[in-house]
Amino acid sequence: MIAIIDYDAGNIRSVGNALSRLGAEYELTADPARILAAEKVILPGVGNAAEAMARLRDSGLCELIKSLRRPVLGICVGMQLMCRDSEEGPVQCLGLFDAHVKRFRETPEAKVPHMGWNALGNLDSKLFKGLKGGSFVYFVHSYYPELCPDTIATCRHGEQLFSAALKYENFYGTQFHPEKSGSVGAAILQNFLAL
């Protein structure tokens, strides 16, 4: 069973839909016992990081998430909440990944939000098993995690190279949306399920 953490983080149906397409069973839950019992945990998130962090704190799940020893995957803002802090607020986050989250600087070549399909580089994790550098995934975000020792994939928007994915021990995060990234995204989710 996969637990998708339900902390009122906006439209998270698509993550569940993607798991259904892969034949995986999941439940949306904020129940600590269910989250602890799950084989894998997904922390989704859309919208404003400071507001999402406030809701996650209200849910009382922060310490529980940090204590998990099974694979955890943060997606988009869910991943940003697993970083050290975010300029969006600014807000202190969970500090699982040693990365600051910063805002893109708008240039004629780099519109903000960074929205659409972009290529991954420097793939360095079992999460990307079977995938080649240059594989395209779908992004929708205005803030990005900087490069850091936890970076396991990069992406370039205009001049800015940033972390497209992070990993620290059993914690994984993708700035892109694997659930909306076609066959490449399905492969990444499948790899996560196989961890």
Partner: protein, 251 residues
């Protein structure tokens, strides 16, 4: 660099995909979910589903359809047609749509754009604009091109951006259905004046038309319907040709 997007547009009436030729003589071409799955497999980057049902039952059918589309396809999709309130938008987002597009209702009440954007974020809001060139002035229309407004295209597009639109989907009513190419110069000017992405719609007849609007026309995405639905231009072939022509597309 963000790839240029290819977007098949599916007009849906009572759950079935239809394509109007100049908005008349509607013709069914297939199952909405099945066609979406096939397009996603073929390499479409995104899909747009437009509800053209006129009745309440038709609208109800559409919301149910959006749930099935969300379950079936693994690429982003936008839904539009008849969204006139924040509640309409909320219902479709809850059903699983990634973005919604507003058109006539946003012209009638421009605060609709900001209300949806404030609640759900700009990335959820596509403002669709249908315009035609009248005596040298690009004039916005509503209700499928049947009613002229006072609004000028570029001014309205800028206002939509200021109010929180995440993208502009501009259809030239002069080009739509002609298969003689997009209004390239108009897209180039929109791209120049706006900071948000511009989706080109109306007039695609060949691979070259699409290449031109994505390069000279500087559009971020090219939308088309009939050339895809009737198999005239298979998407894998289109993408290969664009890549060979130096356009950054997702393969």
């Amino acid at each position: 660099m963000v790839a240029k997007r290819i977007i098949p547009c599916l007009d849906v009436k009572d759950g079935q995909v239809v394509k109007g030729i100049n908005f008349e003589g509607l013709r069914e071409v297939g199952d909405a979910v099945g066609m979406g799955v096939q397009y996603a497999r073929d390499g479409a980057d995104e899909l747009v589903y437009l509800d053209i049902s006129a009745s309440r039952e038709g609208r109800h059918t559409f919301a149910g359809l959006v749930e099935r589309i969300a379950l079936g396809i693994d690429i982003p999709f936008t839904v539009g047609g008849g969204i006139s309130t924040l509640d309409d938008a909320a219902r479709l987002l809850d059903a699983g749509a990634d973005k919604i597009s507003v058109n006539s209702a946003a012209i009638a009440d421009p605060t609709l754009i900001s209300r949806i954007a404030d609640k759900y974020g700009s990335q959820f809001v596509v403002v669709a604009i249908d315009a035609k060139c009248i005596a040298g002035r690009w004039t916005c229309t509503t209700h499928g091109g049947s009613r002229l407004t006072e609004l000028e295209l570029f001014a309205w597009a800028r206002e939509a951006q200021e109010r929180g639109a995440g993208e502009i989907l501009f259809t030239s009513m002069d080009h739509d259905g002609t298969r003689a190419g997009y209004a390239d110069a108009v897209y180039a000017r929109l791209s120049e004046e706006l900071t948000i992405p511009v989706i080109a719609s109306g007039g695609a007849g060949s691979i070259e038309d699409i290449r031109r609007v994505l390069t000279e026309g500087r559009a971020d995405a090219a939308l088309a319907a009939s050339i895809f639905h009737y198999g005239q231009i298979p998407i894998p072939q289109l993408k290969k040709a664009l890549l060979e022509a130096g356009v950054n597309v997702r393969m």
